[in-house]
């Protein structure tokens, strides 16, 4: 039953949602409206997803709490992590329950604008350096296909930068053509293939043939 009930839940919930796209009215012999039922289920899904987001935070506390209690190397960083987490969580929850309190609102906005947002942006900005290094050291035109890839990349970069347009007026035209025609064809074909694969996988999950989401025993 540990596997059968979850599979049944997946099937019933999935079929209800799927059928609601095709049958708008009331189910004959019942007072149930599939669309309303699907709306309720997706609303419940939003609430369950909110709990799921908290899972990651709980896991972080477990891991870093263990690092602190066992005084592992760098345990003080784990302490700062948990302290920061508690600070943000507390202020966020206080903001929710005191929406008129400008002090708490401003504090939360400042914490977001000057801690979370810029540090997150800086983390992703590091990728620019790695792509520069990769462009120099790794991207080699070793074959015809690699040469086509690099040529397309260079033409797009020249076409999209204002300086490329200054160098030769046709660079933006070529870049636009590459984006609108071959790229679009490639993205569409890959999307069609992925859509067929996604449909097949979703059907397998719905019918209980795919059980990876259940995990091991």
């Amino acid at each position: 039953m540990r596997r059968e009930i979850p599979l049944a839940i997946t099937f019933v919930v999935g079929m209800t949602i799927l059928m609601s796209y095709f049958f708008a009215g009331t189910i004959p012999g019942t007072a149930w409206n599939l669309k309303n039922l699907a709306g309720d289920i997706t609303g419940w899904g939003v609430l369950v997803s909110a709990f799921a987001v908290l899972l990651a935070s709980v896991n972080l506390v477990r891991i870093h709490g263990a690092a602190i209690s066992r005084k592992r190397k760098g345990w003080y960083n784990s302490g700062i992590l948990i302290a920061t987490m508690v600070a943000f969580a507390l202020v966020g929850i206080l903001r929710k329950h005191n929406p008129a309190n400008t002090g708490i609102n401003d504090l939360f906005q400042n914490m977001f604008n000057n801690v979370l947002s810029p540090l997150g942006a800086a983390m992703f900005a590091l990728l620019a350096f790695y792509i520069a290094s990769a462009s120099y050291r790794a991207f080699r035109a070793r074959s015809l296909e690699a040469s086509i890839l690099l040529a397309a990349a260079v033409l797009v970069m020249l076409g999209r930068a204002p300086i490329g347009e200054l160098m030769w007026g046709q660079f933006p035209v070529i870049s636009k053509w590459l984006l609108d025609i071959p790229n679009m064809a490639g993205q569409r074909a890959i999307m069609i293939g992925a859509a067929i694969g996604g449909f097949a996988t979703s059907m397998r999950i719905l019918l209980g043939l795919e059980r990876g989401h259940l995990g091991g025993e």
Binding site: I17, V115, A121
Partner: protein
């Protein structure tokens, strides 16, 4: 130079510099701000998601008497049983519920918007004409190239037929078109990463140091 006197801005500037110091060498300052960032992200997620739990769970149940909401609340709480080995199997019910919603929405959405709509958009009249009925050669050539490219890439991924003769020619064309696709993607990735770096540099040089 007009350096900001705001402590928050100073924290922002020093934090961003600490993150960027990683490109020189991994160091304790980078690790400190990395942990601050992870903690901030997790805490922010709790703070914001609490709103969803309160508005969609607590208020309907306690203030509006909508007892059906007990079901998703229980399903949500059941997710946390995965941390206890003896009852971890209980969390499968919640996962199955979410997966069921996901597959139900995905099947319709993917087939309607990504399969049917995209195939329909490929079934174009390849001969492009202007309002006077004259053939527009560049647009016509583009349309032919578009349809042939989509078909050749689909042929490349068609493994049920041995790829030789005309099938191999078509698949080879498909591979070349895909290389252009990946090249365009790479060009956009480079541009995107530089944009991200520029945003951070603007914060450091403008907001903090007041040089811009």
């Amino acid at each position: 130079m007009n350096i900001s006197g705001n402590l928050w801005i100073w924290f922002m500037g020093l934090g961003m510099l600490a993150i960027f110091s990683f490109i020189y060498k991994e160091n304790p300052l980078y690790r400190l701000f990395e942990h601050i960032y992870v903690g901030a992200g997790a805490g922010y997620a709790i703070g914001i998601n609490w709103g969803n739990i309160y508005d969609r769970g607590w208020v309907p149940l306690v203030e509006k008497g909508q007892y059906s909401v007990i079901i998703p609340i229980f399903l949500g709480l059941m997710l946390f049983t995965r941390f206890f080995k003896s009852v971890a199997w209980v969390s499968r019910w919640s996962m199955s519920f979410l997966v069921g919603i996901g597959t139900g929405t995905a099947i319709y959405g993917v087939v309607n918007s990504q399969l049917v709509a995209q195939v329909r958009a490929t079934m174009i009249n390849v001969i492009a004409k202007d309002t006077a009925g004259a053939i527009l050669l560049p647009k016509t050539l583009n349309n032919i190239f578009l349809v042939v490219s989509v078909l050749s890439i689909l042929l490349y991924f068609f493994f049920s037929v041995e790829q030789k003769g005309p099938v191999k020619t078509g698949a080879t064309l498909g591979r070349w078109v895909m290389m252009v696709t990946f090249g365009v993607s790479f060009g956009n990735v480079v541009m995107g990463r530089i944009s991200l770096l520029l945003g951070s540099l603007e914060d450091i040089l403008g907001k903090w140091l007041g040089i811009l």
